[in-house]
């Protein structure tokens, strides 16, 4: 299973902060997981339409081509605004 986390405006839009996802067979990277989740339709398409969506894999900033494996923690969130 992959632990998927959502933060800030995205968490609010999806109404979900965290979930466990069975990795699709063809899962290679963050981009593939993003497309897999967005394919649920409705609000989940925000994963594709949110401007400058950011990703983290195992709590490190990641890119769409960062590999994802079973057991990983993947997070999706809008650009950060701390400080």
């Amino acid at each position: 299973m992959i632990k998927v986390l959502y933060f800030a405006g995205l968490r609010e839009a999806l109404g979900t902060a965290a979930e466990e996802v069975s990795p699709p067979l063809d899962l290679l990277d963050v981009g593939a997981l993003r497309a897999h989740l967005a394919a649920r339709g409705g609000d989940w398409e925000k994963l594709l339409t949110t401007k400058n969506l950011r990703f983290a894999v195992n709590q490190d900033m990641a890119r769409a081509d960062t590999p994802v494996h079973d057991g990983d923690e993947v997070a999706f969130f809008p650009p950060v605004t701390g400080g």
Partner: protein, 153 residues
Amino acid sequence: MSVRVQQEDFDLSAEVAALRAGQPGVGAVAAFVGLVRDMNEGSGVSEMALEHYPGMTEKALEAIVAEARARWDILGARIIHRVGTLQPCDQIVLVAVSSAHRGEAFAACEFIMDYLKTRAPFWKREVTPAGARWVDARETDDSAAARWEKGGK
């Protein structure tokens, strides 16, 4: 601990004192404090809530401090970032850096703040007369961080 994420307020004097305690080699301390403004993007702000990604936040801040240590000859660094609900005039963030001479402390302090702005997973939600809204990231923050990537010092 050089990095802390907390709801409680912090005391600049106490943190600077702790940063340089027992270190006679410290000749300079540079500190930055970020505050909640009562105005953003043309709207009054009455309250702000800060969300973060527990675990990754601390890891990201530690990595930024490590990067600063690799780039400059600094003797100590400390980051405190508050989360939860804050009001205008409240302190949000402290970055303090100690070094032998002022140049390293000034530069590393600014670097840490610029990287924090674009790499540490915090999100601000502010309450305005028109309702609550998530704060948009600024392109000027990206360009401020990018100048350090060209080997800037």
